[in-house]
Structure formats: structure tokens, C-alpha cells
């Protein structure tokens, strides 16, 4: 039986042959690798640190894209896991004086464990959609309150300062990943590896299965899929990846404060994925990096301007490009806007009618 299951797993994750559709993602990925190698040669340490922090947000966006974009689980509290990762790492290294590697393990396991428990009780009980989203927001607020009030461990409102950078030693060789260059390469390598891995998973048959569960869970159940289990697996994997982003954030900046649990950041994650295109893997990462950099630029002029801009961008995206920003979409929207300005009736695109919802 187990051999058969192994065979089945191989079938699920087997990769189809490379086709013309894979060319642009592969080129994008190679371009990203080239950029990662070249940027440190051109940018100064300050700019490098800023872009590195934006790349960490890219990892967060990637984890949320897997969860919401691919498996269709909407949460309003994805930063719970970012914060758990960051706090797990910080508490272990600063308060308990453990090695950074232990901190990484504790941070990631902590987030994965919380996700597994919450996910088990909610997903197996059939809690979905906005109900799940609202409970996840409540969990985020609980985590935030805990971080503020459990002063002896979390440092209260001040948070934890003086978090060491990543470093580990193998066979007496010490690897220090905390310098400006090395931390850049660490973050970028993790982002690229995670992007590649998730792309491969989504490209395999398993990606189609997740797609199917997101589209029509009831039908997937009737095809023999234990859908709550698959959703739980994705939820835990996504939480673990978000925790990795949290660990990197804490290790790179050296501080962690309760505002990592902020609902505003949790909302921003949703916007990154929506603007980058749900389930498109690369799109949300690029959107997260670009918007984080933009936020830093805008915040230096005005602190209130950013949420306003972000809200406007999101509205525009939902109204005009519900599938996310893309070049072809921009051209269509610009053309339509041009027609509207010149006062001609917009040409209705020809849709073949598909029923949005079907009866069970």
C-alpha cells in the first residue's frame, strides 16, 4: 500500500514537459537571479538594506499567494505567522541566549504549530471564506495583545532589541550571514528558492488539484480528495514560509516590536497578491517588493499618504483589472479610458457566457 502511495505521490508531483508557457516564468526567474547577483555591485549599503527588507516582504507575499491565490483560503491575519516567526527567533536568541539556528527552528515550528492547530479546528470543521478570514483576524489581534502584555518574554510595547544576525557553524567553520552583502544574498537566495519551488509545485498535477479544491471544493471531495487535509497542508506550509520571512526580518533589522502583528500590514499582504495577480507566484512577489519600496519612498514625505494611495491603487485594480496588474490588461484599460474620454461608446468585449456558479 505504501509503495503504491509513493507512486501516487510521484504522479502528483511529476513535472509535465517544458512548453512555450514555461518560457516567460523561466526567463523572469533567470533575470531575477542576475539582478540578485548584480545589485550588490551597484548599490550602496543603505539602498541594499532597503531592497533586502523589501525582498523579505516578497517572501511574505509569496507565502500568501500560495494560500489565497492557489488554495483560495482568504485570511485577514497572515502577519500572525510573520510575527510568530520574528518573535520566536528573537525570544530564543535574546531572552534565552540560544544559537540563531535554534531560533530559526523555534520561530518556524511555532508558526507552523499554531497554523496546524487553528487550521485543524477550522478547516476540518468546514469553516471557509469570510468566516475563516474573520477568525484569522481575531487570532492576529490575540497574538498582538499577547506580544504587548507578556512583557517578561516579549518586551511589551518596546519589543526586543539587539537581535543577532543569522550565523551558524558547520564542522568548526563559522558562517556569518549578518553582513550587508551576505544578508542580501541569504534573503535573495531564500526568496528565489521558494519562488522556484512553489512554481514547480504549482506546475505539477498537485497545483491543479489545489486549483480544483479552490474552485469547487465539493466536487473535489466527490473525486476522493480529503480536501480539509490538503487545505491544512497548504495553510501550514504557507505559515512556515511566512515565519521564515519573519525570522529574516528580525535578523536583518535587529529589532522586533508588536507592530509586526499590525492589521494594516496584514491588509497590505492581500493587496500585494491582488495587485500582482492571484496565483501567479511571480506577480505578487514583484508587487510586494515594488510597493514596499514605494511605501518607503512615500513615507519619507508623508506618513498618512501611503494607506490612501494603497487604497486607491487597490480600488483601481479591483475595478479595472480584477485578475491583477498585467501589461495586456493595462493596454486594454488605457484604450477603454481613451474611448471614454473621447466620448465614444466603449466596445463591449465578446464573452462566451459561462455560469459563475453551479448548483451542487
Amino acid at each position: 500500500m505504501s509503495g503504491k502511495h509513493a507512486g501516487c505521490l510521484r504522479l502528483w508531483f511529476s513535472q509535465p514537459a517544458l512548453g512555450p508557457r514555461d518560457v516567460s516564468p523561466l526567463l523572469m526567474w533567470i533575470a531575477a537571479v542576475a539582478a540578485v547577483v548584480l545589485v550588490p555591485l551597484l548599490a550602496g549599503p543603505w539602498l541594499l538594506a532597503m531592497v533586502r527588507d523589501a525582498l523579505v516582504m516578497g517572501i511574505l507575499a509569496l507565502s500568501y499567494d500560495l494560500l489565497w491565490g492557489r488554495a483560495g483560503v482568504l485570511t485577514l491575519g497572515h502577519t500572525t505567522f510573520l510575527g510568530l516567526g520574528a518573535y520566536g527567533f528573537a525570544v530564543m536568541t535574546v531572552q534565552f541566549g540560544q544559537a540563531p539556528l535554534t531560533g530559526v527552528a523555534v520561530g518556524v515550528l511555532c508558526a507552523a504549530g499554531v497554523a496546524a492547530v487553528i487550521g485543524y479546528f477550522l478547516l476540518f470543521a468546514g469553516v471557509r471564506l469570510h468566516f475563516f478570514a474573520i477568525i484569522s483576524l481575531a487570532v492576529l489581534i490575540v497574538a498582538q495583545q499577547l506580544a504587548v502584555s507578556w512583557q517578561s518574554v516579549t518586551g511589551g510595547d518596546t519589543g526586543i532589541l539587539g537581535i543577532p544576525g543569522l550565523s551558524f557553524s558547520v564542522d568548526g567553520h563559522a558562517f556569518d550571514l549578518s553582513g550587508p552583502r551576505t544578508s542580501w544574498y541569504t534573503v535573495a537566495a531564500i526568496l528565489l528558492a521558494a519562488t522556484g519551488l512553489i512554481w514547480l509545485v504549482c506546475r505539477s498535477h498537485y497545483g491543479k488539484v489545489l486549483n480544483a479544491i479552490a474552485t469547487n471544493e465539493w466536487r473535489a471531495k466527490a473525486c476522493g480528495y480529503h480536501t480539509p487535509l490538503h487545505l491544512l497542508l497548504v495553510f501550514v506550509a504557507s505559515a512556515a514560509l511566512a515565519a521564515v520571512a519573519g525570522v529574516l526580518m528580525a535578523a536583518c533589522s535587529g529589532v522586533v516590536a508588536p507592530d509586526v502583528f499590525s492589521p494594516l500590514l496584514a491588509t497590505e499582504v492581500i493587496l500585494w497578491v491582488a495587485i500582482g495577480g492571484r496565483g501567479r507566484i511571480g506577480g505578487p512577489v514583484v508587487a510586494a517588493v515594488a510597493l514596499t519600496l514605494l511605501r518607503q519612498a512615500v513615507s519619507s514625505y508623508s506618513t498618512d499618504g501611503w494607506p490612501l494611495m494603497l487604497g486607491g491603487l487597490f480600488l483601481a485594480c479591483v475595478l479595472f483589472m480584477p485578475n491583477g496588474l498585467r501589461l495586456g490588461g493595462c493596454v486594454v484599460v488605457a484604450r477603454r479610458a481613451g474611448r471614454a474620454i473621447r466620448g465614444r461608446p466603449p466596445v463591449q468585449p465578446v464573452h462566451r457566457v459561462g455560469h459563475a456558479q453551479e448548483k451542487r
Partner: protein
């Protein structure tokens, strides 16, 4: 009784005080073909729901191959070979026809003795080869019926439950479906719910009549068709119109 694939005793289910299925005994052997007819609201779809695990019975017991399955989830039924085609259609609309079939086949591949059927062969069988790369949402209703039947074949059923498979099919397509069902029957048992009596007649198989949640008659189609009582159930007491 060991030769029965599915055995249900006293299956009942009420929805808000309405007895949708009231004490139905079912036994289906591995190569059976049977048809369930009855007026709207007779409990036919609820019966399929009970047999496929989509609805848990309020009372009664259900066994598959001797294993007690009462109250087990739907995916467990599918893994043991009870595969269902839904009423209306129910497919993965955002995915292509071929991907629909792949996903349908992969879920149970680990639980079957034989390898997964080739999606292209199944596409050929249901006549959708030309639309393999179309999105399911772009298919007309009739083609979606075929797609769902194809998805059911991909699951390698031991018992295939077809809920109104001929709805929306032309008379010619319905005859094609009859031939396909007779071919499928060489591999598995088939239970079909149908309103279209011409379709039931051409299946020429054992027919059950449901009325108010109960199976009131079991017999060959010829016997059923000749039964005055059945006519009365179908047409109503003061028969003003036929219920299809």
C-alpha cells in the same frame, strides 16, 4: 448477501420535518444496472446523496463490500469506488476539460488496483477530444454533462451513480449515452436517476419507482410501465399534467 457491493438497510433522512428518504433498503451487486424514477421531490437525489456519502443518513446502515460506511465522509466513498455524477452539472469551471479529467483521476489513483485511465482515451469515449483545451466554463450544458461522465470514468468506479445524466441531451446524444452506459456496465454497477422515460425505456433494466421518500415498486421497466398505480403516482390524482 456477500456478493453485494453496496448494502443499505432502512436508510432514512429528514430535512426540516420532511422525510426525503424514508426507510429504503438498497442492495446493489457488482454488475447491476438499475434506474430510479419518480416525480419531483420523491427523494431520488437524496437517495443518491445517501449512497455517495454526501448526506449522512438519519437512521439506517450502509455497507460497501461488507465494510460499514454509515456516516463516513464523501471522499471515503469515492475511494472505495462509489462515484457520482451530480444533478445539473458540477465541474471545475476555471480549468480546462483535460485538467478536469486529470484531477478527477488523480484523487483515487492510489486506491485502485489498475492504473489511472488515459485522459485522452476517456475524452474520445465521451466525445470531447476536440474541446480538450477549452475551459469547462466555456462548454455548453450538454458537453458539460459528458465531461462529468468522463470525470466519473476517470475515477474508475465500482458503482456509478448518475443523477439525471440525460438532462439537456438531444435524443441522439441520449441514445449515445445509453450505449455508453451499457459499455460501462461491463466494468461496474450503474444506478441512474432519470425523468426522461424514453431514456429509461431504452436502458431496459430493473427500475425502481420512488414516491414520498419510499421505493414503492421494483421491477423491469415493462412491468412498471404497465402498472396503473405508478401511472397515478406519476400523473397525480386529478392528473392535469404529466411531471415530464
Amino acid at each position: 448477501m456477500d456478493s453485494q457491493f453496496l448494502l443499505g438497510t432502512g436508510l432514512s433522512r429528514t430535512f426540516g420535518g420532511i422525510r426525503a428518504v424514508a426507510g429504503v433498503d438498497v442492495s446493489i451487486a457488482p454488475r447491476d444496472l438499475l434506474c430510479v424514477i419518480g416525480p419531483n421531490g420523491a427523494g431520488k437525489s437524496s437517495l443518491v446523496g445517501l449512497l455517495s456519502g454526501a448526506i449522512t443518513p438519519g437512521s439506517g446502515e450502509l455497507y460497501l463490500d461488507g465494510e460499514r460506511m454509515t456516516g463516513r465522509p464523501m471522499h471515503a466513498f469515492c475511494r472505495r469506488g462509489v462515484v457520482r455524477k451530480f444533478q445539473g452539472t458540477n465541474t471545475f469551471l476555471t480549468m480546462t476539460v483535460r485538467d478536469n479529467l486529470m484531477v478527477a483521476g488523480l484523487g483515487v489513483a492510489a486506491y485502485r488496483a489498475t492504473p489511472m485511465p488515459d485522459p485522452d482515451a476517456v475524452l474520445e469515449e465521451v466525445g470531447l477530444s476536440g474541446q480538450a483545451c477549452e475551459l469547462a466554463s466555456h462548454l455548453p450544458h450538454g458537453a458539460r454533462q459528458w465531461l462529468e461522465i468522463g470525470m466519473a470514468i476517470m475515477c474508475q468506479p465500482a458503482l456509478l451513480l448518475l443523477d439525471e445524466p440525460a438532462a439537456g441531451l438531444s435524443a441522439k446524444d441520449a441514445q449515445r449515452l445509453v450505449r455508453l452506459i451499457h459499455r460501462l456496465r461491463e466494468r461496474c454497477a450503474v444506478l441512474a436517476i432519470e425523468h426522461d422515460l424514453d431514456f429509461v425505456q431504452s436502458l431496459a433494466c430493473e427500475t425502481w419507482v420512488m414516491h414520498r421518500g419510499e421505493v414503492v415498486r421494483r421491477g423491469s421497466y415493462a412491468e412498471i410501465a404497465a402498472d396503473e398505480e405508478i401511472r397515478r403516482i406519476y400523473l397525480g390524482r386529478g392528473a392535469t399534467h404529466a411531471a415530464h
